[in-house]
């Protein structure tokens, strides 16, 4: 981590118009930075607007107030500098794994030879080399998410945005995918912003946790998991055993529960 921020969220608010003069405040005056090459986890109860914040980073939603800045430029619509992985499977079913991963580079006009190399590299990175010619419908849910991750990374984004990417996976697959993400982050030096409501996932992945409270979504606390000493450990079992893990988990549980009470 360099400490230099790639992404700045500046006093961002989002109000959704529901029609007939009604509207709902989803996000209210949120500011934080995402450091270059770091993994930032947006955590919070449902309704805290964490997905909305992520979608605004992607340019899929526009802030009502405030701005989001990436590499000095204000975000204005989606772009290839911010790749996004969704919770729902987004593999293009009519394309093989290889063609899926190649897709972004192809539409952005990368030369074929470079495309080929990068495609092979990122398919290998997510461990799908054996399935490069398979269609997504022949793959398991976890493998489909790997395709989506490889496809996004191969496009060379400055930031990888992930919206509950492992929410639809079963527990053991989710665990493997979390460990994969640590390895990917180490090997590609990609800045990542990951939305989740899973405390374990947040603690394991995060260099920094941004906790949002709900209705409307506000920034409650920024937490750096100090017990990891600024290191990333790709073995979840080891992380769980570290001193300080359970304290942080208890702290996050308290925050979550507070939210639950306030919303009852």
């Amino acid at each position: 981590m360099t400490g230099q921020s790639t992404l700045q969220i500046r006093n961002v608010s989002k109000r959704f118009d529901l029609g007939r003069g009604r509207s709902v405040q989803a996000v209210q005056d949120i500011s934080f930075d995402v450091e270059q090459n770091s993994i930032c986890v947006l955590l919070g109860p449902s309704g805290c607007g964490k997905s909305t914040v992520l979608r605004m980073m992607a340019g899929l939603e526009t802030p009502t107030e405030g701005e989001i800045v990436i590499g000095g430029r204000t975000v204005d619509g989606p772009g290839r500098d911010r790749g996004m992985v969704f919770q729902a499977y987004t593999s293009f079913d009519w394309l093989s794994v290889r063609k899926n991963v190649e897709f972004g580079m192809k539409i952005n006009g990368l030369p074929a030879s470079e495309r080929k190399d990068r495609t092979a590299h990122f398919i290998d990175l997510v461990g799908l080399t054996k399935f490069a010619d398979a269609y997504p419908s022949q793959l398991s849910g976890g493998m489909r998410q790997r395709v989506a991750i490889a496809r996004t990374l191969a496009n060379g984004p400055e930031v990888l945005l992930m919206d509950e990417p492992f929410g639809a996976l079963d527990a053991e697959t989710r665990w493997l995918m979390q460990e994969l993400m640590i390895n990917v982050a180490e090997q590609t030096s990609t800045t990542m912003v990951i939305v989740t409501h899973d405390l374990e996932e947040a603690i394991f992945l995060a260099d920094k946790i941004v906790f949002l409270s709900s209705h409307p979504g506000r920034l409650k606390e920024e937490i750096v998991p100090q017990f990891k000493n600024g290191k990333r450990i790709a073995d979840k079992e080891k992380v769980v055993k570290l001193d300080g893990y359970s304290d942080l988990e208890a702290h996050l549980m308290r925050l979550m529960r507070q939210e639950g009470r306030e919303n009852e």
Partner: protein
Amino acid sequence: MATNRFFGLRKPVGRRQRLVSAFGIWAVFFGVWIFASSAGLVNDLLVPAPQKVFATTWDLFWERGFASDVMISISRVVGAFAMACAVAVPLGVLMGAFPAIEAVFAPFVSAWRYLPAPSFIPILLMWFGTGEAPKLALLFIGVIFFLITLIMDHTKNVREELVETALTLGAGRSTVVMKVVFPAVLPNIVTAMRQMLAMAWTYLVIAEIVASTTGIGAMMMRARRFLKTDEILSGIIVIGALGLIFDLLFALLHRWAFPYLRKS
């Protein structure tokens, strides 16, 4: 219960049972028909025996040039249907992808759907005379508005995440439509075409019965004048067989063109 094996509530039946059942219902149908005509229960002039109908069909094809009528009918269906698809596919996809285009065409298209195509026959005859044009026009009118609506609806149902994925990979509007929305909806377009082709056959027969000297429908009307019920029934059987063949061709096309939809 002992009856469960062949008669279970919502239990799928085996392949053999399905074949036996399907064969059985037709055997009963022809059995009743043969019995009724051979026992003299029905007027032989109005209900000829099935064997006579099949003999006539054979005779029509090999001795009396019925094949040319059949070819004319097929070319009318295929010609008019191809024209309808050439308009409906691009327009339906664009309407489904761009609400602004839908806003222009949907009010027009949905109104036309409530105008029964055969009601245009008198005016089509006055405009186009008795050549091929009025038949093609009737088929075109009868099919196109439903086809546009079906394709538009299928296009709208392409999952938003696929579109957003493409946007975050750096795709522009036209790339999203050409490279993601269109391939995603294509299998459903082929299914919609398959459904509408069956409707095209219906309009073909109407057109040929009302105003034609050639084609299967015209042959049947000629036969009526000479009280040839066997020829009329032959015509019905040939139309049914052609409908079935075209439906199977579409099913094969679907299988061949979209291998990725098959599991395993």
